[in-house]
């Protein structure tokens, strides 16, 4: 029994070493051809769901995410209402077909936690005190997942909130940095996240220099961690420009339609 245990251990070690070797090539290029500090291609669009008060669609690499916002509206059940501010009801949800193995549509513990931290990442941006006793609902649907969905979800949700005309201090934008194959890198995709040593998702409001979501799992020294945050913030700033572009585009399109 002991021997077989040893063998499997060796096998897994070999396997992970092989995997890790493949993540970055000698020139510092990643599996999908990106440099270490390069984002995946990001595509953003607002106003994609006619029924919602605000909505946004995001693609980041193979991530495909749809966000719908409803409200401010009467809070249900009524006891959740706050006398001095609006409450945010946030649901992060993965479609059963969004990952390799079918995911049960019932909320997992991970979904519950992510819904909470995403809500807390968005709250600092919104003038909640303008709408006492109401609820603002943010529904995030992950149609396809490829790593970094909580960050991509926040980026899209902030756009949908802005699209709904909800007054905000700034857009919230999120991006992860992490460590894989011994090197810090930006915007990890699924394979890099799974094999990698650490993942640091960060949500940021660029105009206020405010970090509204910060998590980490893995193993990093304090220095590595601080560099990872800086890297993630740089990524956030790049996506922030795209967010603003996407918001403007909606009004440009509307203007053009009027002229025609």
């Amino acid at each position: 029994m002991k021997a077989s245990k040893k063998k499997t251990k060796q096998e897994t070690e070999k396997k992970s070493a092989k995997k890790a070797e493949k993540l970055i090539d000698k020139k510092g290029v990643r599996l999908d051809g990106r440099k270490l500090d390069e984002l995946r291609p990001v595509k953003l669009e607002v106003g994609v769901i006619p029924n919602a008060d605000g909505s946004a669609y995001l693609e980041q690499g193979k991530n495909k995410i749809l966000v719908g916002v409803y409200g401010p509206k009467e809070a249900h059940p009524r006891h959740i209402a706050r006398q001095d501010r609006a409450v945010i009801q946030c649901r992060y949800h993965m479609a059963p077909f969004s990952v390799d193995e079918r995911k049960s549509p019932a909320p997992s513990r991970r979904d519950v936690e992510l819904s909470k931290v995403i809500r807390e990442a968005l709250e600092p941006a919104i003038f909640l005190e303008y709408y006492p006793k109401t609820a603002i609902q943010v529904y995030i649907e992950i149609l396809q997942a490829d790593g970094g969905t909580r960050c991509a979800g926040i980026t899209a949700a902030a756009l949908a909130l802005a699209d709904a005309g909800i007054p905000m201090r700034d857009l919230v934008v999120a991006c992860a940095a992490g460590k894989a194959d011994g090197k810090l890198m930006l915007d990890l995709m699924d394979t890099e996240d799974k094999v990698g040593e650490a993942d640091v998702p960060v949500a940021f409001m660029p105009n206020l220099n405010a970090i509204t979501l910060l998590q980490m799992d893995g193993n990093l020294s304090v220095d590595e961690f601080e560099n990872a945050i800086s890297m993630a913030i740089d990524g956030c700033k790049q996506i922030y420009a795209l967010q603003k572009e996407a918001l403007k585009l909606k009004y440009v399109a509307a203007e053009e339609a009027k002229e025609e």
Binding site: K5, V200, L214, D217, V222, I229
Partner: protein, 266 residues
């Protein structure tokens, strides 16, 4: 929950005090409340510990069972962390399935143990892909007076260190108990410290009064080598700047080392 007006008055007072470096209970900003730790408090459990952090009271029980491993890690035992905000612990806790606060608490404790690789899970494999040991860590909040995360990580670590497994032999793919016990293979000691941002000040180990008025919360879990293994920002509608996070990391490095000495003796 107190009315918004009471919270606002409370906050004003706490922020005023903090501006002069003082806290409601006269502690220093980074000072913890009195920590009392008892190990092996539940004889039926394979491991247990009770931590009192001021009036916050947490008990953690560890149970060991057999089960099947996850298919992607066939040669590793399974770790499961669960947290119960027991209704007797606070007027704000209600019976029912775990809410988001309980789920978050369990997952933050879990992340610290898992990411620091505190338990050598490969040693808990009996037959790869078929039979492994499952370690259940159940966090039970008995009285809530703030900083449940740190009290829970301390109690969980102490309970794991306290855990004894029965000796066994494998006969025909089945586990046969033998007399005697061995300790659980614990190889790392994750400790968390949780900061609250109140106004523009950072404080550690918040009591319930401070927790009610805090703008945001930041938990850093560090392993025995001073590496960060888990972080969670939460609580309230505030935020942190990068400078505040760097400051927190420096304090956390020192503080986790101090606390580890209390939890892991010798």
């Amino acid at each position: 929950m107190n009315s918004p007006i009471v919270v606002r008055i409370k906050k004003k007072r706490i922020v005023e005090l903090l501006a002069n470096g003082k806290r409601v209970d006269e502690r220093e900003p980074t000072e913890y409340r009195k920590i009392e730790l008892d190990s092996g408090v539940i004889e039926r459990a394979e491991g247990s510990a009770r931590v009192r952090l001021g009036k916050t009271d947490v008990i953690v029980g560890v149970k060991i069972a057999t089960g099947t491993p996850f298919s992607d890690v066939p040669n590793k035992g399974v770790l499961t962390v669960n947290a119960e905000l027991v209704p007797l612990a606070s007027p704000y806790f209600e019976p029912g399935p775990p809410g988001e606060n309980a789920v978050e608490l369990a997952r933050v404790v879990d992340r610290g143990i898992r990411e620091s690789k505190a338990i050598d899970l490969e040693k808990l494999c009996v037959e790869p892909g078929k039979l492994v040991f499952v370690v259940f860590v159940d966090v039970y909040i008995l009285n809530h007076d703030g900083n449940l995360i740190d009290a829970s990580t301390m109690a969980a670590l102490a309970a794991l260190v306290n855990t004894k497994m029965f000796k066994y032999e494998v006969e025909d793919g089945k586990i046969v108990k033998k007399p005697g016990y061995t300790p659980l293979p614990i190889v790392n000691y994750p400790i968390s410290v949780t900061f609250a941002k109140i106004g523009d000040k950072l404080v550690l180990d918040t009591g319930l009064d401070e927790e009610e008025v805090m703008d945001a919360r930041l938990t850093m879990t560090m392993d025995k080598d001073g590496k960060i293994c888990a972080i969670q920002k939460g609580g309230g509608s505030g935020y942190f700047t990068k400078e505040e996070i760097s400051e927190a990391a420096k304090i956390a490095l020192k503080k986790t080392e101090e606390l580890r000495k209390i939890v892991v003796k010798g």
